[in-house]
């Protein structure tokens, strides 16, 4: 599949813990840097705004499409590409984000896939996600500093 991204990482914690970090909307907000207005609920919209410094006025919008406990969490979000006018009016193209959890002997493997980019026109496409979180290079640095401390 050319229009799909698949990334995964192994986490040294049990599935329950990882699932909780995904499902608890406050915990999700901590690592995703988003302030969510309500808990995730299947079939319901999720709203909020980014908390990354300088991007607080960037909206978060998603539709929750799957909550399979300990296994799979999925949502769709609009490919607004950082265009604030589009964030208000929404866009026709939404990409699908899925988190899949698998238990490992000493932890959990989490895989994220994002798909549906083929229908998103440029230049929004290149900006998807990046604009939602902003300052990625800086964030990489933050993580490195944090991890090496």
């Amino acid at each position: 599949m050319t229009d799909m991204i698949i990334r995964s990482i192994e986490i040294a914690a049990p599935v329950e813990k990882v699932w909780d970090a995904l499902m608890d909307y406050k915990k999700f907000g901590e690592w995703f840097r988003v302030k969510l207005d309500q808990p995730f609920e299947l079939g319901k919209p999720s709203t909020g705004h980014m908390t990354y410094p300088g991007y607080e006025d960037f909206a978060w919008t998603a539709r929750i499409v799957a909550i399979d406990p300990m296994t799979r969490f999925a949502y769709e979000w609009p490919a607004t590409g950082g265009d604030k006018a589009l964030m208000k009016s929404s866009v026709p193209e939404w990409t699908l984000v899925e988190f899949i959890l698998e238990p490992l002997p000493d932890g959990t493997k989490i895989t994220v896939t994002e798909s549906g980019f083929d229908k998103v026109p440029e230049p929004r496409r290149s900006n998807v996600l990046r604009s939602n979180s902003g300052g990625w290079t800086q964030q990489m640095e933050n993580i490195r500093t944090y991890a090496e401390r």
Partner: protein, 116 residues
């Protein structure tokens, strides 16, 4: 129809169009056949494929419109060849988004393990 010149694309192709053009088994097969490098004729490209010259031509024109393939006249035939940059552009685009997810997953990992 786009320019038939291999060196000048009609317009910079949008990745969205690229992905749509690539999302077809026949076209992927054609891309594979073209990946050898040298320009190839329709009859050569169609060898062993269960479809008409006309159908091959249609698929090639989709690839051309997306900027993935260029055509030039050689005597009485048209020769088709792959263009590299749009494919690389599409890959760079996905790589970029993938890298952002790597960052998020790293942060999730740190967050969860820290509280273990």
């Amino acid at each position: 129809m786009p320019s038939a010149d291999l060196t000048t694309p009609a317009s910079p192709p949008a990745p969205a169009a690229l992905f749509a053009a690539l999302g077809d088994t026949t076209r992927l097969a054609l891309i594979q056949r073209l990946s050898g490098g040298a320009g190839q004729s329709i009859s050569r490209l169609g060898e062993g494929l269960p479809m008409s010259r006309q159908a091959i031509r249609k698929h090639l024109s989709v690839l051309e419109d997306a900027g993935l393939v260029g055509a030039r006249a050689s005597g009485r035939e048209m020769l088709y060849a792959l263009r590299r940059e749009p494919i690389e552009q599409a890959r760079a685009c996905l790589d970029d988004i993938a890298q952002q997810w790597d960052v998020l997953l790293q942060r999730l990992k740190l967050e969860v393990e820290q509280k273990e």
